[in-house]
Amino acid sequence: MFQFKKIAKLPLILIQCECGREFLQEEMYCCLSCQNSMCRYCTSNEIFCYYCRNCGDVQITSETSNLTVSCSSCFECPICKNVLRRQIDTEKNYGFTCSYCFYTTRSIGVTDPNFQQVYAKINNAYKQEYEAEYKDFQDQYNRIKSIENNNFLIKKQQKNKHVLKSLSQSWTKSEALVHYSNAEIDKMTKEKNLKVVLQRYNLDLNNKQVELQDYNPSLQTPALLPIPLGLLSRKNRKCRKCQKLIFTLQPEKNSKKFAYSVQNLHYDHAPYLQIGKVSYVNKEKTELSVVIQMFNKTKNAMEYSLSPLDQQILEQYKLLTVKNLPSPTFTFNNDNIESDVQQYQKFEAILIIKDATKIQFAFSVSAKIKMPMDQQQLNYNVNVYIGTL
């Protein structure tokens, strides 16, 4: 998933999650039942639907039982991975082309005056190419299974020797009861000229590894068949601790768009911080003043309190001291919601800088949200990065 922290310019305000990662204020989520704000890595995903990025065809996981991995009508160029589009020849034959690298299915011979027959030809070409390999794989698999069964039977026989002695006289030797050694397996593969697709058959047969021949794809000509386009997914988010939904999707009627029915962002339940002004106080440039503004962008009234971090944490991360924090509590009351006027409070924090190249300080903010029934509280740490001056 894309992170806006990579594009953002200094000075920056980032929120630190419990896992230690830092994100922008808008990218954080919050769970009101756990009273905790969390990042995307601390939430779990549940797939809601699969969709094609070209045609927009949607498969909702709860409604359909036969989910497919790729789109049935869209294909990808095997050379440049661009989505292919339809083409009509002068002879009125349909086919697929790439508008970037000019690859065409005509070069393979997959064209037809009936467009639906083109799909059938592509499917048949895939079957022909991979049918031989699939058969070989099935033969190898069955043979190895029979070897495993034989070894299992031999073990049983060795345990019950006295039983076998009486029985073996009546039995004739058959291939099923022969224990194949590695050298014998190699002989059999060479005699029958069996092909192996990939080095996937390193199996333990009584603690002996069987390594079969590798398939060499460079000997064969590459098949330039168009690749079926893979589907993308849209997901719901859940809190990992309490398993409650944070973000849920809902399809809109008569359209391929989706809307969020439940959305709990940290932005909606916490004061929004912004850096106003940064300047040196001294001529010697040892003291710095930073003006931080806090906005209430929610519809609810809010009470917040600031607290500095412990000295142990400051020493551990070589953070700087913060002076002149404002009074502990202050209430936001958003009466004029319709006129779009947002209350904010300014406060100055004066720092003592040690290193001029990197300046950062941190303090923790806790906000109480006055909902109609409950008073809920969110606790989180804020890091402010200023950069060079």
Partner: protein
């Protein structure tokens, strides 16, 4: 901290609806151009409204050396049923879009809250969904469809990642603040 950008009043036209266009930009066919308001067009922007209709939403920021051109298809008309003729399609740009410098755009539709990077080439008949990002130096081949909430980049542009759910909030704040801080010199 939002940096204030000051401009010379003599170098920019400003309309009553808040559109700020630099005098060094080239705009043709103003009759067919429809802009909602509060847009900024920097130097050397080329906007071709003479070919087809252009409709633009609010809070659009177009940086230097960008060309905005309607896309085209080949078709037949009653007057010439056998000969192929070029037909120009209308260009639609939604609200809260940012287009970085030196990019060429010939798309049919650009959705809300999108950002297009530097030196991009968006070919004809492309459709860009909402809340999406197109990275710098990317080329979108003709007829590509960029779905909503996606990041595309490369040559040719390919799906790279998904954007977070808060992209409309970030993009709206960024462009509203950019417009507020784009202030004439006192």
């Amino acid at each position: 901290m939002d940096t204030i950008i000051q401009y010379d009043k003599s170098e920019f036209h400003e309309t009553s609806s808040g559109i700020k266009i630099s005098k060094k930009s080239i705009i043709k066919g103003t009759e067919q151009i429809n802009v909602s308001g509060r847009c900024i067009f920097f130097n050397d922007v080329i906007l071709r409204g003479d070919l087809a209709k252009v409709s633009i939403g609010k809070y659009l920021v177009v940086h230097e050396k960008v060309t905005l051109k309607p896309s085209y298809t080949y078709g037949y008309t009653k007057e010439s049923p056998t000969k192929k003729i070029i037909k120009f399609l209308p260009l639609m740009i939604s609200d809260y879009v940012e287009i970085e410098s030196s990019s060429i755009i010939q798309a049919t539709k650009i959705g809300t809250c999108t950002s297009i990077g530097k030196n991009c080439y968006i070919s004809h008949r492309c459709i860009i969904g909402e809340n999406s990002i197109i990275l710098d130096d990317s080329i979108l081949p003709p007829d590509t469809v960029v779905p909503a909430n996606s990041v595309y980049g490369g040559r040719p542009a390919v799906y790279i990642a998904e954007t977070p759910e808060s992209t409309p909030i970030i993009q709206k704040q960024k462009l509203i603040n950019f417009y507020k801080n784009f202030v004439p010199k006192s």
